[in-house]
Structures are given as structure tokens and as C-alpha cells.
């Protein structure tokens, strides 16, 4: 197990290296000159040249690449010329906000989605089943920015219960987290319902019922554990998506997370910042995948790593 863990953790390094290399090359191939964008539309040539030299962009690409990797190995993600600040500092400043939002959204999605999925499966074809699945379809279809604005309109502007934007405590977290969770909630609800429906047809469930267990014990003690595996897989994948996909929600709620930083950096061709976010996102996604794999073995004794 320990060996397995070590191997998986070590594998993160080459994966991050590949991701960074791809970003490094592609970003330099797309049109748009960072020095020109920093210098602004009126800047004379010599200013653009000076900025290019300060950013090391006057060097050939392979030299820039070796320098960047060298810095990376020493844990130095470089300096963003746009922000006039160290990339690592900016990432550490923004990442907690994104993580907080993603965890809150995942929790809401899990609690609501799982509950709705289980009830729908146990009361198959009931009114509740129809309504919750209708809700799930809506959750998948409704664009996040629309839902976000509607929630703001209703709960902030209309009722005045919650602040519309910004980050600071639980009250500001509610609306963005609910908006972000809508899609995941729907996916988890549908996933749980269908895997649950499949599991409760199985022989061992019939056996459990036959030996006189209560319905509660059958569902939670026997069925759910097995129905849980596909849901956990999806949730793990979705968590990575939540970290990267919160951009729209961050912009609607002016949430100071990584998503807005990343989009803005792409717009300004802030090479070092985009590379830095790529390193962070890749590492976090790989760690989450590892975590999901570990949860499998906890849920299903048949899954063993060694």
C-alpha cells in the first residue's frame, strides 16, 4: 500500500512536467505578445523591447524553457510582470477561495444529490421520483451564470437575505456554492438513482430482505455501499471540474478565486501566471484522483492496491 502510494505520488512529477510543457509551447504559439499587452496600446517600441528583455522573452524558446524548468525544480514559479508579484504568492492567495467554494459546492451536491437519488430509486416511478429527476434535468441544462443571476435577483435584490457578491464568511458562500453545485447535484442524483436501481434488483438484496432486515438496514447497510462506487468516481472527476469550472460562477459573484485569475492571465498572455496555474491544477487533480482510488478500496474490500 505504501509502495503504491509512493509510486502514485512520484507519477505526479512527470505528469506535471508534460502538462507544463504543453502549456508552455502552445501558449507561445498562439498570437498575442505579452510584452506588448503589458506595455499597452500606445507604448513606443523601446518600452516593449525593455519589457520583453525583463521577462526573458528576448531569448530563444528553448532557453526560456530550460530556465523555467530550472526555476520549477527549485520551487520557483516565477514572477508575473502583469501583477508585479510572485506567481506562487498570487496562487496561494487565490487558491483557498476556489477550494472553499468547490468543497462547499461538492458537499451540497453530495447531500442533496445522494438523498434525492436514493429516495427516487426506492420510490421508483413515484411523484417524488418524477419531480426530482425533472429537477436533475434542469440542473444539468440551466447555465450557471443565469442561475447565479436569478439567485442574486431573488435572494439579494428581492428579499435582501444574502449578499450578492464578494467573499467573507458563510453568508457570502451560500449563493455561489448553490449555483456551482447545481450541475453536480443533478449528475450525482441521476447516477445514484440508476446505480441504486441496479443494485436493489440483485440477489443479495433480496436475501437481506428475506432475512427480515428493515428497509432502512437493507438500503443503507447493503445497497448504498455498492451503489456508491460509480457516484464516488463521478464525484472525484467532477471535483476537478469544480476547481477549474468555477470561472463563470466566480465572475458572477465576484468571488476572488483562481478561475478569474486564470482567465485574466490568459487574456493578458501572462505566461508565468498561466503556467503556474497549470502546475497547481494538474497537481490538485492528480491528488484528487489518488484520493478517489483510495476511497474505492475503503468502500469495496475487493479493490486492493499493492
Amino acid at each position: 500500500m505504501v509502495k503504491y502510494l509512493l509510486r502514485r505520488l512520484l507519477l505526479i512529477l512527470p505528469t506535471v512536467w508534460i502538462a507544463v510543457t504543453i502549456i508552455f509551447v502552445i501558449f507561445r504559439l498562439v498570437p498575442g505578445d505579452p510584452a506588448e499587452l503589458i506595455a499597452g496600446e500606445m507604448a513606443p517600441r523601446e518600452v516593449v523591447q525593455a519589457i520583453r528583455a525583463q521577462m526573458g522573452l528576448d531569448q530563444p524558446m528553448h532557453i526560456q524553457y530550460v530556465r523555467y524548468l530550472g526555476g520549477l525544480l527549485r520551487g520557483d514559479l516565477g514572477v508575473s510582470k502583469v501583477y508585479g508579484a510572485r506567481v506562487l504568492d498570487q496562487l496561494l492567495l487565490r487558491f483557498p477561495a476556489t477550494l472553499e467554494l468547490a468543497i462547499a459546492a461538492m458537499l451540497i451536491a453530495f447531500i442533496v444529490g445522494l438523498t434525492a437519488g436514493i429516495i427516487s430509486a426506492t420510490r421508483y416511478n413515484s411523484l417524488f421520483d418524477y419531480l426530482s429527476m425533472l429537477g436533475a434535468i434542469a440542473g444539468v441544462c440551466v447555465p450557471a451564470f443565469w442561475l447565479g443571476l436569478m439567485l442574486i435577483l431573488f435572494f439579494s435584490v428581492g428579499l435582501g437575505w444574502l449578499p450578492s457578491t464578494g467573499r467573507g464568511g458563510l453568508r457570502t458562500l451560500v449563493l455561489p456554492a448553490v449555483t456551482l453545485s447545481a450541475y453536480q447535484m443533478a449528475v450525482i442524483a441521476r447516477m445514484t438513482r440508476s446505480s441504486m436501481l441496479e443494485v436493489i434488483q440483485q440477489d443479495y438484496i433480496r436475501t437481506a430482505r428475506a432475512k427480515g432486515l428493515t428497509e432502512w438496514a437493507v438500503i443503507y447497510g447493503h445497497a448504498l455501499k455498492n451503489a456508491f462506487i460509480p457516484t464516488v468516481t463521478i464525484a472525484g472527476l467532477q471535483f476537478g471540474f469544480l476547481l477549474g469550472g468555477s470561472i463563470v460562477v466566480e465572475s458572477v459573484f465576484a468571488w476572488p478565486g483562481l478561475g478569474s485569475l486564470m482567465i485574466d492571465s490568459i487574456r493578458h498572455r501572462d505566461y508565468t501566471m498561466v503556467q503556474g496555474t497549470a502546475v497547481l491544477y494538474t497537481t490538485v487533480c492528480l491528488l484528487i484522483n489518488l484520493l478517489v482510488d483510495l476511497v474505492y478500496s475503503a468502500l469495496d474490500p475487493r479493490v486492493r492496491y499493492g
Binding site: 498575442g32 505578445d33 523601446e46 498570487q90 443571476l149 442574486i152 485574466d264 490568459i266
Partner: protein, 540 residues
């Protein structure tokens, strides 16, 4: 009270301008303004901006207009504007210009200190000018300062700026945001990180700054113009327009910028909200590349001007909150009122027929068997309603038999397509917006319509149309070198009339600046140069 102060100030400016007709005259503005009597002291004002703040260095605040809006709270210039863009004294109390128009002498206010305690004296002014002129500083506005050849500091409170040639627009250039004077000690101490540790002389000083997230500015108790009204000003980026509106309506924000035209009525009707609406100087046009046929033919360019229904675009896309252009600069800047190109499809067709175009298959025009086809380069979200405007233009051109297609590129990459040497230029037409951020007509006309000096290199500034007219160049040079305001305006009006008739581009509109505020906010102003100015703002 406010109004009477402004009229008093404008009277002084008018006197100043009149006296400037005689070179060598002194402008003097007596008295030290203080916070207006009856001003309510206290409170926090939150301003939701449409862009994130990244750097607070006056010479390069990165985001536009957000950066300069913070700069105007943190710093002062030698001279500044009022909301009508008249020049007002700021750190300079008075100034004179020598008879040859090359030496500008400024008398500084005494006893002013930067936020870090450094004295703001003649040496500090010199430091600032040399700093922005140094290419290593990386200021996008270095070219606004290159006219200054030498800075002399005869004494602590006197600065003499010497230019190579007479330079009539000096005061406008000094009032530009990049002319905010920074503390030399702080700039040397922080170097490249000065943008996060600004120190100016302005009414508010920095308390806390997280780039891209929030800046908290607090009152500068020592402010030389008197105690500022607010305890603090919070600047927050809220990029989503709907969210800005919601914040204003709930009171989470006191001022917001960039209100979408379709939501203006809602804020005007709101119980607690109001609109500040100012015609902006930023003009929009459809550029035409004169190096590509048939745009070298003025008849073709004029025809396209007649073929576009600008009034309809302004009415339907901007709900009327824009002005159709009647001069190469916005009405507030142009100094004269010209004649619009009316929407006249028959005339457009006639001009194109004169230029040799005949209807071909499907009624689409062609000349010598070559169809009249071109692409319009545009980004989405770079300018207000950009894609919709280009689509409207595309449809209207189709009606007269011209086949325009849209070439959509990412905003960040646009300059790489447009600002290239002619040999690499693939663009034919493009949507473009230009804002003269120092409110100077000469700057505007030079940037867009002065011939490019080197036909083998990228355009000097933004004359990406490669428009060339020797007479216009001569008039622009005359205007620039004249320190006599009347003569300057004369030269520029003549130049504009020629440019207008040459139709180097398809003239479109200038959009209004739409800023929303809570009803209890007083003293927030919007300069036609796009900036929301909160220096004198207060909450009742």
C-alpha cells in the same frame, strides 16, 4: 455650492485661456481649495469596477480604466482637469510659458508631502519625469513625456520643463493619469513592486491591496486641499454587469461603472439609485486598409459611409446612449460640428458604380469579374456590443451588394494582427475604438490620422488604415507646435474637415459613459476621458 465652485473655476479657466493668447502670460489660481463647506465627513464608499486592479503605479496601472481611477485617488499631477476637461491647478499653483513656447515654468505648492512623508518638491517632479522617460520603467505612456527635453529645478518650488519644439498641448499631457507624482523614496525602495506599495500626495492613501481582489484606500488626513470627505474608498472588481447592478441595488456598492445601456432606465427609476451619464470621447469606426484594393479609392470608402445606418445601430443596440459621429473626434473634443454621412443606399450604390462596380450573380457587386468581398476583424467583448455592431454592418452592406464576412479573433491577439508592417498585414477592415485619455484633440488626431513615418514598419501609433495626406500632416504639426489655443484649434478643425471628407474609415459613433450610483452619493464625477473620479465624493 458645488455648482458655484465649478462656475467660479471655469471662469478662471476662461480667463486663463484668454490670457494664453498672449504668450509669456502667467496663469495664477489663488487660494487653496478645501472640502466644500457642509460636506458630510465619514463613511465608506464602495466602487465596483468592471476590471480588476493589478498595479497602482501611476506610470503603468495595467488595467484600463480601473487602474487610472485608483491612480487619481492616490496621486496628484502638476495640473489636472475638471469634469469639463478644463485645466485646473493641482500641485502647481501657477505656470508661465516663454514667448518661444519652449520653456514652461511651474510654481509648486509649498509644504506638500507624499503619503510616506517625503517632501513633494521640484526634485521630486524631476525624478518623476526621468522615471517615466526611462524605457526600463516600462510605461505605456512614455511617448506622452518624450516631448520634454530637460527638467530644470532652479529652486525647491520651481520646475522648468523645456521642450525641443514649442508644444501647445503640454498642460493636457501633464494632466494625464501617468503624470501622477509618486514619492521618489518609495519608488526607489520598492522598485518593480511599487505598484503594490504606492505613495502619492492624493486625498486617499493605500491601506490594503490584494491585486485582482480589492484595494482599500483611507483618508489622507494631511491632504493639501483639505480633509477628504470619506473615511475610506473600497475598489472591487466585479466583471459581470448583472452582478454590479445587483450590488448597487442592494447597497453593497455605492458606485458602479459600465452600466449596460438596456439597464439604464432601471437604475434611473430605482428608489435608491441614479445614473451619471456623460458623452464619452471614445470614438468607434470601421477601419479600412488603404493598402488593399478597393479601399485605396476614396469613392469606395465614402460609399461604405453612406451604406451604414449609424442612427439605427445607436438606437437599437445602444438604446440611444451614443452619438453618431459628425467629425473625426467626439463632439465634446472636435471643436466644430461637421456634417454626418446620412444613411443613403442609393448614393452608396452610385459611388460604387462610379468606382467601376457592377451587379453580378445574386446582385452582389463585382469589378472586372472580382466580387466585392472582404473580412471584418473583430473580437468579442473588447468593445461595447462589438459583435452585434459588426453583424449589423455586415447585413447593411449585403443590402447594397457588398459581401463582408466576420473574422473573429481573441481580444488579446488583436494587436498582433493590426499593428504589423504592411507586408504582414492580412486585415482588410476592422472594428476599432480609440479613447484620447489625456483629452487632447491633437493627440487623438495624431494617433489615428498622421501618416506613418516608415512604410516598411508597423504603424507609428494606430493609423492602421495607412491613411496618408500631406496637407493633414502639415496642419497637425502646426497645431502641435502652437501654444496659442485659438490657432491650435483652427489647425485641428481644418485637418479634421479634410480627414472627414477623405473618409479614411467608416465613421460610426461615440458611446456615452454610463455610471450608476446610490442616490446618497454626491460629488462623484465622470470625465469624458472614461474615468470615474471619486476624489470629491461623499455620502449623505
Amino acid at each position: 455650492m458645488k455648482r458655484s465652485m465649478y462656475s467660479w473655476a471655469s471662469l478662471l479657466v476662461a480667463v486663463g485661456l484668454l490670457s494664453s493668447l498672449f504668450a509669456g502670460t502667467t496663469w495664477t489660481f489663488a487660494g487653496t481649495p478645501t472640502a466644500p463647506p457642509g460636506a458630510k465627513i465619514g463613511g465608506t464608499l464602495t466602487y465596483a469596477q468592471n476590471m480588476p486592479l493589478k498595479s497602482l503605479d501611476a506610470v503603468n496601472p495595467q488595467t484600463y480604466p480601473a487602474g487610472y481611477e485608483a491612480v487619481f485617488l492616490l496621486y496628484n499631477n502638476l495640473v489636472t482637469y475638471d469634469e469639463k476637461l478644463n485645466i485646473q491647478p493641482d500641485l502647481a499653483e501657477s505656470w508661465t510659458v516663454s514667448p518661444d513656447g519652449r520653456r514652461w515654468t511651474f510654481k509648486l505648492r509649498k509644504g506638500v508631502k507624499f503619503h510616506d512623508g517625503t517632501p513633494c518638491n521640484a526634485e521630486a517632479v524631476k525624478f518623476n519625469i526621468l522615471r517615466i522617460q526611462d524605457p526600463k520603467t516600462g510605461s505605456p505612456n512614455k511617448n506622452l513625456w518624450d516631448h520634454i527635453q530637460a527638467v530644470e529645478t532652479p529652486d525647491e518650488a520651481t520646475v522648468v520643463l523645456v521642450t525641443a519644439k514649442p508644444f501647445g498641448a503640454m498642460l493636457n499631457y501633464l494632466a494625464h493619469g501617468s503624470g501622477g507624482l509618486v514619492s521618489p523614496a518609495a519608488a526607489q525602495k520598492w522598485g518593480a513592486e511599487f505598484g503594490s506599495h504606492p505613495a502619492g500626495t492624493g486625498p486617499y492613501k493605500l491601506q490594503e491591496f490584494t491585486p485582482g481582489v480589492q484595494a482599500v484606500l483611507v483618508r489622507n488626513e494631511e491632504y493639501f486641499k483639505g480633509k477628504p470627505a470619506l473615511d475610506s474608498v473600497v475598489l472591487k472588481p466585479v466583471t459581470e454587469a448583472g452582478a454590479r447592478i445587483a450590488m448597487l441595488e442592494t447597497g453593497e456598492a455605492d458606485v458602479i461603472n459600465d452600466v449596460p445601456p438596456e439597464l439604464v432606465k432601471r437604475l434611473e427609476a430605482g428608489a435608491n439609485t441614479k445614473m451619471i451619464r456623460v458623452p464619452g470621447l471614445r470614438i468607434f469606426y470601421l477601419g479600412l486598409n488603404h493598402l488593399k484594393k478597393p479601399f485605396d479609392d476614396p469613392r469606395v470608402r465614402q460609399a461604405l459611409n453612406y451604406a451604414i445606418d449609424k442612427e439605427a445601430i445607436v438606437k437599437s443596440l445602444f438604446q440611444g446612449y451614443a452619438l453618431v459621429l459628425d467629425a473625426p473626434a467626439a463632439t465634446a473634443l472636435a471643436g466644430y460640428a461637421g456634417k454626418r454621412y446620412p444613411f443613403d443606399q442609393a448614393k452608396a450604390k452610385q459611388l460604387l458604380a462610379d468606382a467601376g462596380f457592377k451587379p453580378g450573380p445574386g446582385g452582389m457587386l463585382q469589378k472586372d469579374g472580382v466580387p466585392f468581398k472582404f473580412t471584418i476583424n473583430t473580437a468579442e467583448g473588447e468593445y461595447p456590443k462589438d459583435i452585434q455592431v459588426v453583424e449589423a454592418i455586415q447585413n447593411q452592406l449585403r443590402q447594397i451588394g457588398v459581401d463582408a464576412s466576420i473574422w473573429k479573433v481573441e481580444a488579446a491577439a488583436r494587436w498582433s494582427y493590426l499593428r504589423v508592417p504592411p507586408a504582414d498585414a492580412k486585415y482588410e477592415a476592422w472594428l476599432f475604438g480609440f479613447n484620447p485619455s489625456n483629452g487632447d484633440l491633437g493627440y487623438h488626431l495624431n494617433a489615428l490620422f498622421k501618416s506613418n513615418p516608415d512604410p516598411a514598419k508597423a504603424p507609428y501609433v494606430w493609423n492602421t488604415a495607412w491613411y496618408k495626406n500631406a496637407e493633414v500632416d502639415k496642419l497637425l504639426a502646426q497645431g502641435e507646435e502652437s501654444t496659442d489655443r485659438r490657432k491650435r484649434v483652427d489647425s485641428y478643425v481644418k485637418a479634421q474637415q479634410i480627414v472627414w471628407d477623405d473618409a479614411p474609415v467608416v465613421w460610426l459613433y461615440a458611446v456615452d459613459l454610463l455610471v450608476g450610483a446610490r442616490k446618497n452619493v454626491q460629488g462623484a464625477t465622470v470625465w469624458p476621458t472614461i474615468f470615474t473620479i471619486l476624489r470629491d465624493a461623499q455620502k449623505q
